[in-house]
C-alpha cells in the first residue's frame, strides 16, 4: 500500500515531502491545523509556523477555549482524575457528553472508592439523553433544560437566595448535598458547555468553598488537545489559535480561527495533522491542503498532498496528555512500525523548505 499521494496519485514519500514544501513555501498565509499529534509533533509544528509566518490551531481549540476563557476571565478550582477518584464523596456531573469525553469515567470516578470510604453520592445535572449504567445516580433536569439556568438556580440556592424556578425541592436537596460534601468534585466536558455556563459552575464551586471543600474536574477533549495547548503555551506564551504572520506570536481566537481563515479566503494553504483519529477538516472553502494523517483518514475532497503518519503510542513512542493522570506522560509504541511520526515528517518538510531557500 502506498503511504504518500500527490493529486491522488501514489508517489514516493520524498516526492510528497518536496511538493508539501513547495506549497507551504509559496503560501502567503498558511494555516497549520488539526494538530492531532504528540508533544514532539506539536513542537515541530510550532517551529514550522514560526518560520513560515503561519497560524496554528487545534481541531478542538473551541472546546479548550471554553474552559480557558473562564480561567482567564474569572478563575477555576480544579483537581486531578486520581484525586477525584480517591477523595470525592460527592460527584456532581454537569451536562451531557461526559462518557464520550472520557469513556473511563464510570470505571475511574463513579465506582466505589478504594478502601472503606463511605459510598459516594452522585448527581447528574442536565444529562440530556445520556445515561450511565451501574452506579446509583440522581438525575436533575433533562435535555430540554438550559444547563446555565439550572446552575444559576442551584448557585442561588446554595447561597441561600430565593428563586422562582421549578423543581424547588429537588434543587434544594441537591444544594444541601453539595454543601454537605467533604470533598466534592464537579465534572464537565467543555465540548458541551459554553464559557458562560462553565463560569457559572466555577462560581458555584468557588462559593461552596466558603464552608467546605469542592473543586472541579474538566474533561479534556481528545487528540492530545490539552498537551498541544501546553506546548503552544510554553513555546509561544499563548494557547492555540495563534498566528506568526506579523513576525511574532499573537493569540486571537477569532483572527486565527482556522475555519474562518479558510472560508473567508484569507488563508491560501493548509497543513492538516491528525495522527490519532480519522478526523478530517470541517471547513468548506477550497484550499490547497497537505495532510499528515493516519491511514484510515478519508477526505471529502482529496488533499493535494497526503502522507501517512504513525500514531503516537501505537506505531512509535511519544509523549502526550493522559486522561488517567491529567498530566503529560511518555507512552511506548504498542505495535512499533516503520510509520513516520508527525515530528519526523515536519522535520523533512522543513529541510526541504530550507533547501529551496538557498
Amino acid at each position: 500500500m502506498a503511504d504518500a499521494w500527490v493529486a491522488g496519485k501514489p508517489v514516493p514519500a520524498r516526492t510528497a515531502v518536496a511538493e508539501a514544501a513547495r506549497l507551504l513555501r509559496s503560501s502567503r498565509l498558511p494555516v497549520i491545523a488539526g494538530l492531532g499529534t504528540d508533544v514532539e509533533g506539536a513542537r515541530a509544528a510550532v517551529v514550522l509556523a514560526d518560520r513560515l509566518g503561519a497560524t496554528i490551531d487545534h481541531m478542538h481549540s473551541t472546546a479548550l477555549l471554553h474552559d480557558l476563557d473562564v480561567l482567564r476571565q474569572f478563575g477555576l478550582m480544579i483537581t486531578t482524575p486520581n484525586e477525584a477518584r480517591l477523595q470525592a464523596d460527592v460527584v456532581l456531573l454537569v451536562g451531557p457528553g461526559l462518557t464520550k469525553a472520557w469513556p473511563d469515567l464510570p470505571n475511574r470516578l463513579l465506582a466505589p472508592r478504594p478502601g472503606d470510604a463511605p459510598e459516594r453520592r452522585i448527581w447528574w445535572l442536565c444529562p440530556g439523553g445520556d445515561r450511565i449504567a451501574g452506579p446509583a445516580i440522581r438525575l436533575v433536569g433533562d435535555g430540554s433544560d438550559d444547563v446555565a439556568v439550572e446552575l444559576a438556580v442551584l448557585r442561588a440556592r446554595v447561597a441561600g437566595r430565593p428563586t422562582r424556578a421549578g423543581r424547588q425541592e429537588e434543587i434544594d436537596t441537591l444544594a444541601e448535598n453539595l454543601r454537605g460534601a467533604q470533598f466534592g468534585v464537579a465534572v464537565w466536558s467543555a465540548a458541551q458547555l459554553d464559557a458562560l455556563t462553565i463560569e457559572m459552575l466555577s462560581g458555584l464551586v468557588s462559593d461552596l468553598n466558603a464552608g467546605t471543600r469542592f473543586t472541579g474536574l474538566p474533561l479534556a477533549p481528545p487528540d492530545n488537545a490539552w498537551g498541544v495547548q501546553q506546548v503552544s503555551a510554553w513555546m509561544t506564551g499563548f494557547p492555540p489559535p495563534a498566528g506568526f504572520g506579523r513576525g511574532f506570536p499573537e493569540h486571537d481566537p477569532w483572527r486565527f480561527n482556522t475555519t474562518r481563515l479558510i472560508n473567508s479566503g484569507e488563508a491560501d494553504c493548509a497543513l492538516w495533522i491528525s495522527a490519532y483519529n480519522e478526523v478530517v477538516p470541517d471547513w468548506t472553502g477550497r484550499i490547497p491542503t497537505v495532510a499528515l494523517t493516519t491511514a484510515a483518514c478519508r477526505f471529502r475532497r482529496a488533499p493535494h498532498v497526503q502522507i501517512m503518519v504513525g500514531s503516537p503510542g501505537v506505531d512509535h513512542d511519544g509523549t502526550q496528555f493522559c486522561p488517567l493522570t491529567g498530566t503529560l506522560v511518555a507512552v511506548a509504541a504498542k505495535k512499533p512500525s516503520g510509520a513516520l511520526s508527525v515530528a519526523a515528517l515536519i522535520a523533512d518538510i522543513a529541510t526541504a523548505i530550507a533547501a529551496t531557500e538557498t
Partner: protein, 546 residues
C-alpha cells in the same frame, strides 16, 4: 579540534579562588584552562580591559518551567507582549513569555545555571519538557515531597528511616531532580480536609503526623543519601503577619543540620505598628546569623505587576481575594496542590512597601554572603528581569535612601532599612550569585574560574550604574562558547538538566509498583521521566552525591 579563547586584561572577581585582580582568563574548548606556554596564541581574543569578569551566575530558586508556570502564561495572556527581537535565524526568537525568552533573558544578564525549585513528581516530565526548551542555560529541578500519601503513610505507621530514604532516592531518580523541596509540609493534605491554616506543630488530618515530623524526616533522608543540596524548605504560614515565629521555629527544628529556607522575606513579618504588620527582619537575620547550618534565599519584592505561582495551595487559596487582576487557578493535585494568583505590588501600598524593605534588610543584615542567596522567588516577588535593579540597591546606600524617600513613611517606620548603611561589594555579589550557589548545589565545576571549571563566564562593563551593568553583560560564554554580547543573545545552544542519582535499595521499585497499582490502579512508570521523551541529545548531567 581544540579552540583556545583568551579573555584579556579584565578585573577577575572570583571569590572561590580569592581573586580580585587584573588578569587573563583562558578557555580551552568548554573548560577554563591554564595560560598556554609562550608562543601559543589564542584562536579568539576578547579585550576585557576595564571590565569585570565573573563566573556565570547561578540562580537557585526561580519558577521557570512546569504546569504552574505554564498555567500562569495561559491565565495572563495580557502580561506578555511580543518583545525585543533577538537573532532572527533562531527558533521562536520573538516569542514573549516563553521558554525561549526565559533562557535568552537569563543569558543576557550573565546567568548560566537556573534551578526550577518546585516540581511535583507527577508533573516532572512536563517540567523537563519545558526545561529542555529553555536555550543556553543549564537547568535543574527540585522534586517536591511532603504532602504525598506514600510518605505520610510511612510516617503514620512509623516504618523507619531506611524505607523513607529509599523512597526519596527513588523519587529523585524517577523525576531526574537535583534535590528535594518541601512546601508547607502537610498543608495541601490539610486543605483537602478543609483546613484554612496550618502550622509547624499542627497534625495532618487522617495521618496523625505533624508538619514538623514530615520536615525532619525529609531533612534526615536527604542528608543520609548524601545529596549535596540540603532539604529546600518552604515553611508554613507564608505571608502572614507575625510569621517570623514560624521561621525561627523552623530554624530551631533544623537542629544544627543543613537546611535551606526559601524566600525568607515572605516570613519576615511581625505584628507591630498600627496596622499589625511590620518588619521582623532584624530578629530573623540574627537567627540566621547564629545558625551556621542554615542557608536562605531572600525572595525580594519589587514593585509592579507579576503573578504568584506556588504549590502552597492553602496560602494561594487564602490570597485569591487579593488577586489583581481578579482571576486565579486553585489546584488540588495528587499530593501537592497549586495556586496561580496574579498580583500587583504597588509602591504606595503600605504592606508591599514593608515587604520590599524586609527583603533588603535580610540581604543587608545577614552577614555571610555565602549563606544568603539572591532570588525574587521569580515571579512571586518580582520577575527575574528585576535582578539588575536589586543588585544596584544592595551596592548603594544612597540609592536606597532615594527609594525610601518615595515610599510611604509609615511603612518605612516599621522597618530598619533606613538605618542600614552596608553596601555589597562586587566580591560579595559574586559570592552570593556564583561561588556559594555552586557549593550549595554541589556543582564543583562551576561558580568559579579555576582551571578545569566549565567555561561559563560573564564579562560586565564596570559601569557606575550597576543596574545597567548587570542588565546587559558585555560578553557571556556558556561552555566556552560566546552566546551573548552587550545584552543581546547571538548564539543558541542547548544546556542540560543537572540531577543526582543516589544509591538505594532497588526493592523500593517493587514496592512502588504495588503501591501505584493498589492506590491508583495505575503503573508507577507513568510518573517517570524517560530520557527518550526529552527531545535533546544528552539532556541530563549527573552531579555526584557525597
Amino acid at each position: 579540534m581544540t579552540v583556545l579563547t583568551r579573555i584579556k586584561g579584565g578585573r577577575i572577581v572570583d571569590p572561590a579562588t580569592r581573586r580580585d585582580q587584573i588578569d587573563d582568563i583562558w578557555i580551552r574548548d568548554e573548560r577554563i584552562a591554564d595560560p598556554p606556554d609562550g608562543g601559543i596564541r589564542a584562536d579568539y581574543t576578547y579585550d576585557a580591559g576595564g571590565k569585570i569578569v565573573m563566573a556565570g551566575g547561578i540562580d537557585i530558586h526561580s519558577h521557570i518551567a512546569g504546569f504552574n508556570v505554564n498555567t500562569a502564561r495561559l491565565l495572563l495572556p495580557e502580561l506578555h507582549r511580543g518583545s525585543v527581537p533577538r537573532p532572527v535565524d533562531t527558533p521562536l526568537s520573538t516569542a514573549g513569555w516563553s521558554t525561549f525568552e526565559t533562557g535568552c533573558r537569563y543569558a543576557a544578564m550573565g546567568f548560566t545555571t537556573v534551578v526550577e525549585p518546585a516540581v511535583p513528581p507527577s508533573f516532572a516530565l512536563h517540567a523537563h519538557l519545558e526545561l529542555a526548551d529553555i536555550p543556553i542555560i543549564d537547568k535543574a529541578s527540585l522534586a517536591v515531597l511532603g504532602n504525598d500519601d506514600f510518605l505520610l503513610s510511612l510516617l503514620r505507621t512509623s516504618q523507619g528511616s531506611a524505607i523513607i530514604r529509599d523512597y526519596v532516592a527513588w523519587t529523585l531518580e524517577s523525576t531526574r531532580s537535583l534535590g528535594i523541596k518541601v512546601i508547607n509540609a502537610g498543608g495541601a493534605v490539610a486543605f483537602k480536609a478543609n483546613a484554612r491554616q496550618f502550622s509547624l506543630d499542627d497534625i495532618v488530618p487522617h495521618y496523625g503526623v505533624t508538619s514538623r515530623t514530615i520536615l525532619k524526616s525529609l531533612q534526615f533522608a536527604v542528608q543520609e543519601l548524601g545529596v549535596p543540596h540540603p532539604l529546600h524548605v518552604h515553611c508554613n504560614n507564608l505571608g502572614l503577619p507575625g510569621n517570623v515565629e514560624t521561621a525561627i521555629e523552623t530554624i530551631a527544628a533544623a537542629d544544627g543540620l543543613p537546611m535551606h529556607l526559601a524566600h525568607l522575606q515572605f516570613y519576615g513579618y511581625g505584628r507591630e505598628g498600627e496596622r499589625g504588620f511590620s518588619s521582623a527582619a532584624p530578629v530573623l537575620a540574627e537567627a540566621v546569623n547564629k545558625a551556621t547550618n542554615m542557608t536562605v534565599d531572600v525572595g525580594q519584592v519589587m514593585f509592579g505587576q507579576t503573578v504568584t505561582v506556588s504549590l502552597d495551595v492553602l496560602r494561594q487559596f487564602n490570597s485569591r481575594d487579593q488577586a489583581q487582576p481578579r482571576k486565579w487557578l486553585i489546584f488540588d493535585g495528587d499530593a501537592e496542590g497549586a495556586g496561580v494568583v496574579p498580583y500587583n505590588y504597588r509602591a504606595n501600598n503600605f504592606y508591599n512597601a514593608v515587604q520590599w524593605a524586609v527583603g533588603l534588610e535580610l540581604f543587608l543584615l545577614i552577614e555571610d554572603p555565602s549563606r544568603v542567596f539572591f532570588t525574587t522567588d521569580h515571579p512571586n516577588g518580582a520577575p527575574f528581569t528585576t535582578y539588575p535593579e536589586i543588585f544596584a540597591l544592595l551596592m548603594d546606600a544612597e540609592l536606597r535612601a532615594q527609594w525610601i524617600a518615595k515610599l510611604p513613611a509609615n511603612a518605612m517606620a516599621v522597618t530598619s532599612l533606613a538605618s542600614i548603611k552596608r553596601e555589597y561589594s562586587l566580591g560579595e555579589i559574586a559570592t552570593m550569585t556564583r561561588a556559594a550557589p555552586a557549593q550549595l548545589l554541589g556543582l564543583k565545576d562551576r561558580g568559579h574560574l579555576r582551571t578545569g571549571a566549565i567555561a561559563d563566564v560573564a564579562v560586565y562593563d564596570d559601569d557606575r550604574d550597576r543596574a545597567r551593568m548587570f542588565r546587559a553583560a558585555a560578553l557571556v560564554f556558556k561552555n566556552g562558547e560566546l552566546v551573548a554580547r552587550n545584552g543581546q543573545v547571538i548564539r543558541y545552544r542547548w544546556g542540560r538538566a543537572l540531577k543526582v542519582s543516589p544509591n538505594y535499595d532497588r526493592d523500593i521499585e517493587r514496592r512502588m509498583r504495588t503501591y501505584y497499582e493498589e492506590r491508583y490502579g495505575l503503573a508507577s512508570d507513568l510518573m517517570k521521566v524517560p530520557q527518550h521523551a526529552i527531545p535533546r541529545p544528552e539532556p541530563f548531567e549527573s552531579v555526584p552525591c557525597r
